[in-house]
């Protein structure tokens, strides 16, 4: 492990050198493309130069689509033949991301590579190409509560970067990138992590959630508030649910595809079964289901919480539902229930 220092201009050249050998992805600003008039959209996209890397704002969507795209072809059909969809591209992809999102990938790995003892090959082949360059994050954005979720720190990265004024400091952990940075001046740089968020949540410390918590009236307010748009699911770095969909081409009905598309526990139709029966019709029940998964039952299976506290669900909710406040409400209600 070694650390280097560059000026922005020097680092820009390093960045271009890196770009020559692999694809670079990071948060990028799209002016005027935001949801409201005269606002920008920040999302993960391919970077063509250092100046495109957005460091001032949290991305609207997470980087999870790099390993788990919103819409992915699994098979191509010709008549009765199933042909595996080929990999779209080869080579390494360097992703510039923050500690919470690195922890998010750890949770995606748990679901796609560990759960049920089967490795999802489509996820795996994309995931193996990713290399993480951690953007040092010492100050919270709005709605961040990573410290409460213990995902403010990360060590699974190839390199860590601090952008400070005109200087760029780099810690290199992965030998394969040592050569890329070796032109820099040696430094003692070690990344720091945010130690306190403005938003704090009280994660319930419970092994078995009492049944009263499932039917508790605390969920009723979400029946009215939530409109089942699923933005909290799609923006979440740890939501992994999907549905498979087959389609055929309109000009060749014998040809088509089997795709998997993101699905979400807040969306209508997620629990639909044969003959039209379904579960969790009420939005409050869906909120309860999601909340417990993120801060309670995932932990029972894997030993740590699913939610990483990136706060994107709160950033994007059109009904201003705060997931952070919901967690606090669960803890407060649980204390009431247990105290009875």
């Amino acid at each position: 492990m070694s650390s280097y220092e560059f000026t922005r201009e020097e680092f820009s050249r390093v960045f271009d050198g890196l770009r020559a050998r692999c694809s670079l992805y990071g948060p990028k600003r799209f002016p005027g493309r935001g949801r409201f008039t005269n606002t920008d959209l920040v999302k993960y996209a391919q970077l063509n130069g250092l100046e495109e890397l957005e460091l001032e704002e949290k991305s609207y969507m997470s980087p999870k689509s790099l390993a788990f795209p919103a819409d992915e072809t699994l098979f191509y059909f010709t008549g009765q033949e199933f042909a595996e969809a080929p990999q779209d591209g080869e080579g390494e992809i360097v992703v510039f991301l923050r500690p919470c999102d690195i922890n998010g990938f750890r949770r995606l790995d748990a679901m796609f590579l560990e759960n049920g003892g089967t490795r999802d090959p489509y996820y795996q082949r994309r995931r193996e190409r990713l290399r993480f360059f951690m953007i040092e994050c010492t100050e919270s954005f709005d709605n961040c509560f990573c410290v409460s979720m213990k995902s403010n720190t990360a060590d699974d990265y190839s390199a860590a970067l601090r952008f400070s004024g005109d200087s760029v400091l780099v810690e290199v952990k992965d030998d394969e990138f040592e050569g890329v940075f070796s032109a820099g001046r040696p430094s003692g740089f070690k990344p720091e992590f945010v130690r306190e968020n403005r938003k704090r949540v009280d994660v319930p410390d419970v092994d078995e959630m009492p049944p009263e918590m499932f039917a508790h009236p605390m969920w009723d307010e979400y029946d009215q508030r939530c409109i089942a748009c699923g933005r909290c699911n799609t923006s979440c770095v740890t939501c992994t649910c999907f549905s498979t969909r087959d389609l055929f081409y309109s000009d060749s009905r014998l040809s088509g595809e089997r795709r998997r598309v993101w699905d979400g526990c807040h969306l209508d139709g997620f629990t639909e079964m044969a003959g039209g029966a379904s579960y969790r019709e009420k939005k409050g029940e869906r909120m309860r289901f999601k909340t417990f998964h993120k801060i309670y039952d995932f932990r029972k299976r894997f030993g740590y919480d699913m939610c990483v506290g990136c706060g994107r669900c709160d950033d994007v909710c059109p009904e201003y539902i705060s997931f952070a406040e919901c967690i606090n409400k669960v803890s407060a209600t649980l204390k009431e229930v247990e105290g009875r």
Partner: protein
């Protein structure tokens, strides 16, 4: 990819037997090791994929009993003998055959829930699953909805089965009334010494379990099977998760002592 768990294999249809107006049993050629209560992901290219439980199997064949109620199942209804079905599996745990062996076995199934317990009943009937005694309760909405009528009739003749329809109908001289009433009327020598399997629509399972408990059957001797529309069968797609349990991995068959705590 060296191994792709999403890739189904073609299975040639050797027989299609209509059961009711909209239900039919498809037999396909396939060799796989499985146990009653498990399911396959069944698909047709360009139409879709859905989990369907095994309604019986042998060394080189599998049967699926399907109700045409959706995009895929309607398309399955159109298939002919000689065509291919695409399947992957089996998935799930299946019934605990070691526990059921040698027991006083009671099976209560409603509607399409009879399909997953059919391999159990057939094995208990012909001795492949040795049991001390067998009692089958099969409930249907109407006589038109009767599945596996010949087999259930045979089972009735041997004194093992009660087949009931919800309300009396012209031309039906068998039992009537909801299955719960028939569970209530069961004369069990020792309710604490049975293994009680209950499979059917959610409401039927809920009230049938309640009746079985009232009879004095211990919760840990009741077995239920859950249905979910899953997209993977592998613990990835999230559709079948309840609390930290995945129906496709840990079920679909659950001991009631565990199922009781699963809140959707």
């Amino acid at each position: 990819m060296t191994f792709n768990p999403y890739r189904p294999f073609p299975a040639r249809i050797t027989c299609i037997r209509p059961e009711t107006d909209c239900e039919f049993t498809i037999t396909v050629e396939a060799t796989a090791s499985m146990t009653p209560g498990q399911f396959f992901q069944v698909s047709l290219p360009r139409v879709g994929e859905a989990p369907i439980s095994i309604s019986d199997f042998g060394d080189d064949w599998i049967q699926f009993t399907v109700r045409a109620v959706g995009k895929l199942t309607n398309a399955l209804h159109e298939l002919c003998t000689g065509e291919n079905l695409f399947i992957r599996g089996p998935y799930g745990n299946g019934f605990p055959m070691d526990v059921l062996e040698g027991s006083n076995l009671v099976v209560a199934a409603g509607g399409s829930g009879v399909a997953p317990v059919r391999p159990l009943i057939r094995r208990a009937m012909d001795g492949r699953l040795p049991v001390r005694s067998l009692k089958v309760l099969a409930g249907f909405k109407s006589k038109e909805g009767l599945l596996f009528s010949d087999e259930l009739e045979e089972c009735q003749r041997c004194g093992h089965a009660t087949v009931t329809i919800d309300r009396p109908q012209d031309g039906w001289c068998g039992s009537t009334g909801l299955i719960t009433e028939h569970i209530r009327a069961l004369e069990l020598e020792d309710p604490s010494d049975v293994q009680f399997v209950i499979v059917g629509p959610p409401v039927m399972m809920k009230y049938s379990v309640a009746e079985a408990l009232k009879l004095g059957v211990p919760a840990d001797r009741i077995w239920v099977s859950f249905e979910r529309l899953m997209s993977c069968g592998l613990g990835k797609c999230g559709h079948c998760k309840i609390d930290s349990t995945y129906i496709c991995l840990d079920g679909p068959v659950f001991n009631y002592s565990r199922a009781a705590g699963l809140i959707d």
